[in-house]
């Protein structure tokens, strides 16, 4: 590890403020995730999910890729969350009612797993020799588009196949049980 990184910068220097902004994004993400997992009302869980997505978008923006950040907002907040809430409203599930028995991971086993995971990730994060990579391109929409259709065209095509399968699956589920 670079020895200069060990001394934490002053809170009011530029680096310190940058760190604070990063931490704010992280806190937003984690708090959102917590609400999403722990609320009993489904709509509140969706609200938590949105907070979490916005935190992640903030991290992307912080990491100097506004395009990815805005796509995160557009797709995950604007489309996925709206679709989820739409499904919740159409289904109108019973509130404050546990659905099904709790799994085997509830209780001490769950805590142990969570602690193990958290410890493992912390050790990984601290022990890894993080390197600052050189900037590959300017991250503009044009560059991303060219990369997607040349170097990563395989990924692009695979994503479209995944989406096609999803649409077909939705159609099959929606049309089963209908006569015409």
């Amino acid at each position: 590890m670079n020895p200069s990184m060990v001394t934490s910068p002053s809170l009011f220097s530029v680096d310190g403020l940058v760190g604070v902004v990063f931490l704010i994004n992280l806190v937003i993400t984690i708090v959102g995730g917590f609400i999403a997992c722990n609320s009993e009302r489904l709509v509140r869980a969706v609200a938590g999910l949105i907070v979490c997505f916005i935190g992640v978008a903030g991290v992307y923006y912080f990491l100097n890729s506004p395009f990815v950040a805005l796509m995160q907002v557009l797709i995950y907040v604007g489309a996925v969350s709206v679709t989820i809430s739409f499904a919740i409203m159409l289904a109108a599930p019973e509130e404050k009612k546990r659905v099904g028995p709790a799994g085997p991971l509830v209780g001490p086993a769950g805590f142990a797993t969570a602690a193990l995971l958290a410890g493992g990730f912390s050790v990984l994060a601290v022990r890894t020799d993080w390197k600052v990579m050189a900037k590959i391109n300017d991250g503009s929409i044009k560059t991303i588009g060219i990369e997607l259709l040349t170097n990563y065209s395989m990924v692009f095509e695979l994503i479209s196949i995944v989406l096609l399968i999803a649409i077909l699956g939705a159609l099959v589920i929606a049309r089963s049980g209908r006569d015409n």
Partner: protein, 334 residues
Amino acid sequence: MSLTLLNVIVAVVIAIAFAALNAAYLVWAERRGAARIQRRPGPNINGPFGLLQPPLDGIKLMAKQLTIPGGADKVLFIAAPVLAMFPAIMSFVTIPFSESIVAKNMNVGVLMIFAFASTGSMALVFAGWSSRNKYAMMSSVRAVSQAVAYEIPMLITTITVVMIAGSTDLMEIVRQQSGSILHWNIFPVLGNSHNLLMPMSFLIFFTCTLAETNRAPFDLGEAESELVAGFHTEYGSMGFGLFFMGEYANIVIGSCMTTILFLGGWNAPLPFLGFIPGIFWFLLKLYLLIATFIWIRWTFPRTTIYGLLNLSWKILIPLSLFNLLFTAGLIKVF
């Protein structure tokens, strides 16, 4: 660093002030316009032409108690009106009012506006759900299906304009339309859009703006005759006020986007009028569009929810897809 931070804070304060002022006086304009169309005087008592009506209404709303219905989800109930204002104010930050008046120009400006606009429907969902009122709930289901349906043709039409301009930078899109009225994207004559379907794109975009901002004849979300007041049935005092401000701020954003994408932004309609500052032209186009919004609202009756969804899925989406392919072909050929 501190200077840019200060800039951002000043920009956000100005955006909030602009949104609030517009909301207040657009309500006045709407009431006066409605009155004129219905042959009655409208608010004309307080101040000259009733111009003091909006601040008085504001004071009245702020002085009222915020009541929360029993059994409502308090957190979401209070958060929803704030969420309704948030995307509109965020969008104001990146809108270029003239060559020099823009808070923060981004090279992904178009994307930024649509990303935040798409979060607006969540506020309606939370408002409708947390009120614990069946009318409000139905209203938010309608609002969401409407938002989902009209976002698609709107985004596709925007992509056509972005393809023609070759940029998602709002200022760049406006700069390419400079010259005269014939260079604007809506008219496929002299500018870089030699596409005969551009007037149709403009109409699609404008219709989608009407629908996305929940305006009549597409205001199914707050159809008074069926749903009391829709998602804001249970809201009084400033909660109601914030929803109204959000609605009018969204109208302003929609008109700004129409102006920028199709009507040449801050460009003068004729070259010899170029000595008048750009902000004047921008605001002129903006308020003409808003006047059209008000005019349409008091002229056309409300559609049905089926008519609304059919218009989007069966007419606007196929048309805009065809338009996209046609434009792509034209760009490839020429």
